[in-house]
């Protein structure tokens, strides 16, 4: 079976990337499951460890969202969902962003209360093989173990996110890359308790909570703007996606076009394109000319499948037409 996103069949490279992404997201879930259990076992009453534990719990959301989404967007458009199921990615992205934001806020309040109330966190000992060992050593050991893998995951996912134009995968990679700071933060916090600085723990927890909150703000903003149909951007929201310009350039070169302007929205992975064309001399081109133009545009990029060509007498203002005070296409 060919790998597909809705109606779009994936090129070979993207199909490979998708397989790798699915594998690495399963690996991430397995790693997180182990980390969550280990951290829970040694968490004790350290606020920083609690924050790190909650962050790891939340880190489960993007991989799960991704794996669910690749199943759902497999479906082709139906009469009930005429644009296909691609937006499920955006919905998953928004849910993950809101969860991060809410948890970050909760942890900041929780840690700040502890800091202001001058709560001295008690960390006792555990008995291992007949030896009494300070629990703090175990905490630092477990957190150190959780440092290397997320850094590796983050790097691989970042490349795959670019390849697949997947913003959930990008958000996940971004969180993984920042995860090592959480681990170091909690190690510093517990080490602080170790040398008798009771406030180090709550301060480290505040730092971790702030990073969770920041992740939440970034992801929420990105998800909301995508659901608002802002113009399509690159996978990291860094700049407008070049495809709109390439489609316009191609269409403008055709002998039967005069003015061209396109609206491109990101459906999650794939783009929905509406290209407005003012035909030369107001002459309606032949059906075969229109079909050829559409097929050529679709061949420009695998992300473009859903493309609509609209013949108009004047370009709408948003895509470069003249500024007007009309309220609608008909009412000018």
């Amino acid at each position: 079976m060919t790998a597909r996103f809705g109606r779009n069949e994936l090129p070979e490279q993207q199909a490979r990337s998708l397989k790798r992404a699915i594998r690495i997201e399963w690996a991430t879930i397995a790693f997180l499951a182990v980390a969550i259990v280990l951290i829970y076992l040694v968490m004790g009453s350290s606020q920083a460890m609690k924050a790190a534990w909650i962050e790891d719990l939340l880190s489960l959301a993007p991989p799960i969202a991704f794996l669910l989404a690749v199943r759902i967007i497999d479906k082709r458009p139906t009469p009930r969902y005429p644009y296909g199921y691609h937006r499920s990615v955006g919905v998953a992205h928004l849910v993950a962003g809101v969860a991060l934001f809410a948890m970050g806020t909760f942890l900041i309040v929780d840690s700040a209360t502890g800091l202001l109330g001058a709560e001295h966190p008690p960390i006792g000992s555990v008995q291992i093989l007949g030896q009494t060992v300070w629990l703090g050593w175990l905490m630092m050991g477990v957190m150190a173990l959780t440092i290397p893998l997320p850094i590796y995951f983050g790097r691989v996912k970042m490349k795959l996110a670019e390849d697949l134009h997947d913003k959930v995968l990008y958000a996940d990679a971004d969180m993984n890359k920042a995860d090592w700071m959480t681990a170091v933060g909690s190690i510093v916090g517990v080490a602080g308790i170790g040398i008798g600085l009771w406030w180090a723990d709550a301060a480290a927890a505040l730092f971790i909570a702030a990073s969770i909150l920041w992740d939440g703000v970034k992801n929420m903003r990105a998800a909301i703007t995508d659901l608002m149909d802002t113009r399509a951007t690159t996978f990291d929201d860094g700049r407008p996606h070049p495809i709109a310009g390439r489609i316009d350039d191609y269409l403008r070169e055709l002998p039967w076009t005069d003015e061209v302007g396109s609206r491109v929205r990101d459906q999650g992975h794939v783009f929905h394109v509406e290209s407005f064309i003012v035909p030369r001399n107001r002459q309606v081109p032949s059906l075969s000319a229109l079909t050829d133009a559409r097929d050529a545009c679709i061949d420009l990029d695998w992300k473009v499948q859903d493309l609509v060509l609209v013949l108009v007498d004047e370009l709408p203002e948003e895509v470069g037409g003249p500024a007007g005070d009309r309220q609608s296409e008909r009412n000018r």
């Binding site: 440092i147 590796y152 308790i193």
Partner: protein
């Protein structure tokens, strides 16, 4: 793996620094263990036979009382007893006027919000067959003292 390359030296350097300073880990923010060693162990006792029994005219007795006396002896410290209800004793613990509170306290004690409970060191079964694990309370955040007491209870307790 740039991040990791940055982290390893950080951890290495900080552990060197810590061991170099001769700071014992964990430390007591209020120096409880150092003060008690060779000095005085201030113990709050709430009446809860057979763990603790308090009297008007003589020093308390009971299993936990004996354990605390052994602990004090191991630290070369004299015990100063204070008797009262758990509420008053925990408040004194919070103010730093006591070092340990005993009185047959269970490991699910609500005082765990305001005092640091040791690991359970003994178990009892009451008439209805319910199991209770027993702990002692020390001041919040005095982790060196807490670990020292737990180490003692690991050796001497009936866990």
């Amino acid at each position: 793996m740039n991040g990791l390359r940055r982290v390893i030296p950080l951890v290495a350097v900080s552990s060197l620094l810590l061991s170099g300073c001769g700071i014992a880990i964990p430390a007591d923010p209020h120096g409880t263990l150092d003060r008690v060693r060779g000095g005085e162990l201030r113990v709050g006792v709430s009446h809860q036979p057979p763990w603790t029994e308090t009297y008007d005219d003589r020093e308390p007795s009971g299993d936990e009382v004996e354990l605390v006396e052994q602990f004090a002896a191991a630290l070369d410290a004299d015990v100063e007893w204070a008797e009262g209800g758990e509420s008053a004793l925990v408040r004194a613990l919070e103010r730093g006027e006591l070092d340990v509170v005993i009185g047959g306290i269970a490991d699910d004690t609500p005082w765990a919000e305001r005092a640091a409970a040791t690991r359970a060191y003994a178990e009892s079964i009451d008439d209805r067959g319910e199991r209770t694990k027993h702990v002692m309370l020390v001041r919040m955040g005095e982790n060196r003292f807490l670990v020292e007491l737990e180490r003692f209870l690991d050796r001497e307790g009936r866990g």
